[in-house]
């Protein structure tokens, strides 16, 4: 496949950026989107140009590092991570726009790399349980109702990629925060800190400058892990009863 790419290039956090056009050829439809960018970068390096900076780590859809907005959609046209997006979802001759996550709370570091540490600080404010560590407890020591376990698992799938923030017209981190709060608040182990957790995490989310939720639903549509929009309703309930 031959493709035209228009990629956001920005030298550093405080320099202006712009969309820059590149052509790549010989792309196989079995390549992932990141492998396609690797191909471009090899050419750029051979030409003596600066390669396109993008985040990536596991390349198997579990670390959440590889965020970028492809043709206006977080992680591109399929509901998956960019590393798991295959080029077969594009046509030969396509023009593809690639931009970084856009949110006030996610400043651009370089090109497609943004600083997502605001999400880490939300986790730091309550996304854990306070418990003595040591050897793993006996698995059946605390009984967990099946329904609670399923709900916790569903919400624990969040990989912190930030696609929800990137997709939301308000740059809101509600789906991310909901995933973490619901995961821990429905479990007996999370119960003692239930109220303070949700209050602190919502407070941290607001302090980081994320927008509020207008129940637009773009986040849940973009989420590669299928965190449900109703998770936000649960977060709201946890907050209001705290």
């Amino acid at each position: 496949m031959n493709l035209t790419l228009r990629i956001w290039r920005q030298q550093g956090p405080d320099t202006p950026g712009e969309m820059t056009e590149y052509r790549v050829s010989g792309i196989s439809e079995d390549m992932s989107f990141l492998e396609m960018l690797d191909t471009l970068n090899e050419e750029l390096i051979l030409r003596g140009d600066r390669p396109v900076a993008f985040d990536h780590d596991c390349r198997e859809g579990i670390c959440g590092a590889c965020g970028m907005v492809i043709n206006g959609q977080a992680h591109g046209p399929e509901r998956t991570t960019t590393c798991q997006l295959h080029m077969r979802h594009f046509e030969d001759g396509d023009t593809i726009d690639v931009e970084p996550w856009r949110a006030g709370a996610f400043p651009v570091v370089r090109d497609l790399v943004v600083d997502r540490s605001a999400l880490d600080r939300i986790i730091g404010s309550g996304g854990y349980i306070t418990a003595p560590t040591g050897s793993a407890p006996e698995a059946h020591a605390t009984a967990v109702p099946k329904e609670a376990a399923d709900l916790a698992f569903e919400h624990a799938e969040c990989i912190g990629c930030g696609a929800c923030v990137a997709a939301c017209p308000n740059g809101s981190a509600m789906l991310f925060t909901a995933a973490k709060v619901v995961h821990l608040n429905v479990l007996p182990q999370g119960a003692p800190e239930r109220a303070s957790r949700v209050r602190n995490m919502v407070g941290a989310m607001d302090a980081e400058g994320f927008g509020g939720c207008t129940n637009t639903g773009e986040c849940a549509t973009a989420c590669p892990k299928g965190i449900p929009l109703t998770g936000i309703a649960r977060l709201n309930r946890e907050f209001l009863r705290s």
């Binding site: 969309m19 600083d115 308000n170 607001d206 939720c213 207008t214 309703a233």
Partner: protein, 246 residues
């Protein structure tokens, strides 16, 4: 790259904690984005309940002047003899005014916050969400302006062509017989339908009563309610303009 960036803290755009005493519960609620949105949902639902009653009352127009004017008079006798004549309306008005004002102020403050949180738009734009969802802000502004017009038209009668105090039937017919009177009303009611279509379901989400099992029922209820309100309210100006109500 990730690890390097993850340790960078960006404190510049974080708001510092307020000094002094911890805020009261109400202040904490109002200050947080989730709490403020809940205030919006409650004030919105309050207005919605009022509007359902208002719409049903308006349908009395179809039973003639005596029926409607008698109904308007009865409204002023609610609560008698405990309350004095007309007091019920004067008790309801501050509540509604408070709902409109808090709803509007919260909408303004939250919208400011939302716009600031996405300072740079995407170059490649995509149409997002439903029409009702996208028009909440401007639709809300239209509704706010309409409320002012509506009060000047049919409550204070300042801009009403007939302006007969105590005769709402005649005032309604006079207002809706002008092209602007009927037009403004119709546009506002369409905006109301859209606002309620997203708003009712959204309020359920905001107040935490939505869950996967209720989601579809709540969306259907929002659509039904929006349709019922809009159709009910619209039937009056349409009937006047068609000459059915004179």
């Amino acid at each position: 790259m990730l690890m390097a960036s993850a340790t960078r803290t960006n404190r510049a755009n974080r708001t510092p904690a307020a000094p002094g005493r911890p805020p009261s519960r109400a202040a904490a609620l109002w200050r947080s984005s989730v709490g403020k949105k809940a205030v919006m949902a409650v004030s919105g639902l309050l207005m919605l309940a009022y509007l359902v009653a208002h719409m049903l009352g308006n349908l009395k127009v179809f039973f003639g002047p005596d029926d409607l004017n008698g109904y308007a008079h009865w409204l002023r006798t609610i609560g008698q003899p405990v309350l004095h004549h007309g007091w019920f309306l004067w008790l309801a008005r501050p509540v509604l005014l408070a709902a409109v004002v808090t709803h509007g102020v919260a909408a303004y403050q939250l919208s400011r916050r939302d716009l600031k949180a996405r300072p740079q738009q995407y170059v490649h734009r995509r149409r997002q969400s439903t029409y009702a969802t996208r028009t909440m802000r401007w639709g809300g502004v239209i509704l706010g302006l309409f409320v002012v017009w509506h009060i000047l038209d049919l409550t204070t009668l300042t801009v009403n062509p007939a302006a007969e105090e105590g005769h709402p039937y005649q005032n309604i017919v006079a207002s809706f017989s002008t092209w602007y009177g009927g037009g403004i009303y119709c546009v506002a009611m369409l905006a109301l339908g859209l606002h309620v279509r997203h708003g009712f379901w959204s309020a359920a989400q905001t107040l935490g009563v939505n869950n996967p099992r209720r989601d579809r029922a709540l969306k259907a209820a929002a659509n039904g309610l929006a349709l019922l309100l809009t159709a009910g309210f619209l039937s009056v100006p349409v009937a006047v303009m068609a000459g059915l109500v004179r």
